[in-house]
Structures are given as C-alpha cells and as structure tokens.
Amino acid sequence: MALHAAVKGKLISVIGDEDTCVGFLLGGIGEINKNRHPNFMVVDKNTPVSEIEECFKRFIKRDDIDIILINQNIAEMIRHVIDSHIAPVPAVLEIPSKDHPYDASKDSILRRAKGMFNPEDLVR
C-alpha cells in the first residue's frame, strides 16, 4: 500500500448554498490553485443557472477533482447536465442542505438504478 504514497490526493469540490460551502470549507476541502481557480462555488438566489452549469462542467473537466458535491436543490436546476454525466470519475454526489432534506426520488444515480426495475425491462 505504500507504493502509491507519493501520489498527490485528489480534491473534493463543492457547489452549494452559503452554509454548505462555509461548512465544508471549514472542514478543509477548499483550495485555490496556482491559476487562482477555486474548487468551490457559492450559489445564492441571484446566481444564474447558466453560471452553475458552467461551473459544474468546469469541475468535471478538471482532472484533479475526484468528488463533486452539489446540493440537491441546485442539482435540480441543472438536472440535464448531471444526468448526462455517466462517467464514474469525478463522482457527483447530491447532498441535502439544511433547508432541503434529501429526496431519494430526485437523485440521478438512484433514479437510474431504479430504472432497471421497470416492468418493461423485466419482461424482455
């Protein structure tokens, strides 16, 4: 296991509301790299959806990010982009926020997993 000790760890990025970002950054996941690109984005009620979408796509393209955390209510705004991301890395994890409890029926991965229990699929 010591063989890959020299490999630099990958980042956890976050797209979320104020409390989620402040909390997780307090937890130590925040980074601003040499090119001055942060690995977090604070979304408030005035943030345009296009900006969230752009930021999400940027995080997906970065190869130093392994996990993207996104509040479920924000994920709902850019659902089409999240649904189209099927690669396992970076893993996109939808997390609840203090105002929006977790809803399993909205989660992209669980919806895909449930999709295989469609009666139509089982008949085939």
């Binding site: 937890g27 130590g28 001055r36 893993a91 203090k98 295989m116 085939r124």
Partner: protein, 162 residues
C-alpha cells in the same frame, strides 16, 4: 468482463447468467438502501454543523460567518488540507480521505478571526466528520454505477442468447 457470443464453448448458460443477474440485482437493492442510509447520515451531520455555524453567527455577527469571509479568486493560493485518494483493495477501487501534507495548507478557522467561538471549532469537527460520510457514500455510489453496467451487459447477453 468479456461476455463473448452464444457460440463460445466457455460461454455461461442462460441459467447461469440469470443466476448471476439475480445476485447482482439483489446486491444492487442492498446498495441502494445503503446509499440512502449514507445520505441520511450526511443530512443529520450537515444539520448539526449548521446549528453550530448559526450559533457562531449569533455570537460574532451576521457577516462574520458568511461567504464574504471565504477566499476568492484574488486571494493567495493555498492547498486543501483534506483530499481523497483511490486505493484498490481486493480488486475493488475505494476512495479514502487523507490529510494533505503539502506545505501551503491553511487553517480555515483563521478566515473567520483569530479568536473564534467554541461553536466554530465544533462546526469544523462536525464537517470534517461529514467528509468521511461523504466518501463512504461515494464508494457506495461507485459500486452502484459499476453494478448498473454489469446488469446492462448481462441483460444484453441473455437477450442475445434467447
């Protein structure tokens, strides 16, 4: 995982393939349950942390614990103190939380002042712990995705044989 064609001598029979499919689907159901359990853990953890953030906000003032204190693109660069790495154990890729040993890490508490209330420290501990829950959840999610792929392949194989 190569499934081959129905003509292969070593190809599994339909019964074997169906049995394997059953096993994977059952595992998938367990994983789905596990994922929901992890998400609920994350939820309660975030709520706990948020209460402590709110208490700190009450003590220090509204703007003292806000995004205004977070570093921006114009601030100096620094490295994350908590990162994750992928390790392979028994053929399964697992993500683990590790402490970054880079020199330019910062203590995030310093963004909010030199003498921060005890609640801020508590919030920090809770959110650090939440990161462990997050990584646990991501590992389950990765397994879910891998299984989805296998199920698709098996179904395709069974359809091609039938």
């Amino acid at each position: 995982m190569s499934l081959g064609t129905a003509q292969d001598a070593n190809a599994p029979s339909v019964a074997e393939a169906n049995e394997l499919l059953d096993k994977i689907v059952l595992k998938q159901l367990h994983l789905m349950e596990e994922k929901m359990r992890c998400e609920l853990n994350i939820e309660s953890s975030i709520k706990n942390g948020s209460i402590h953030l709110a208490k700190s906000r009450y003590i220090m003032g509204q703007s003292a614990v806000s995004t205004a204190r977070l570093p921006t693109e114009s601030s100096a660069d620094f490295s994350a103190s908590t990162v994750c790495e992928t390790v392979e154990e028994d053929g399964i890729k697992q993500i683990k939380v590790i402490e970054n040993d880079a020199e330019n890490t910062v203590n995030p508490l310093r963004w909010f002042g030199v003498l921060v209330p005890q609640n801020m420290h508590k919030a920090q501990n809770i959110f650090q712990n939440t990161i462990n829950f997050i990584v646990e959840c991501v590992n389950v999610q990765v397994q879910l995705q891998t299984n989805l792929k296998y199920i698709g392949m098996l179904r395709q194989y069974i359809n091609s044989v039938n």
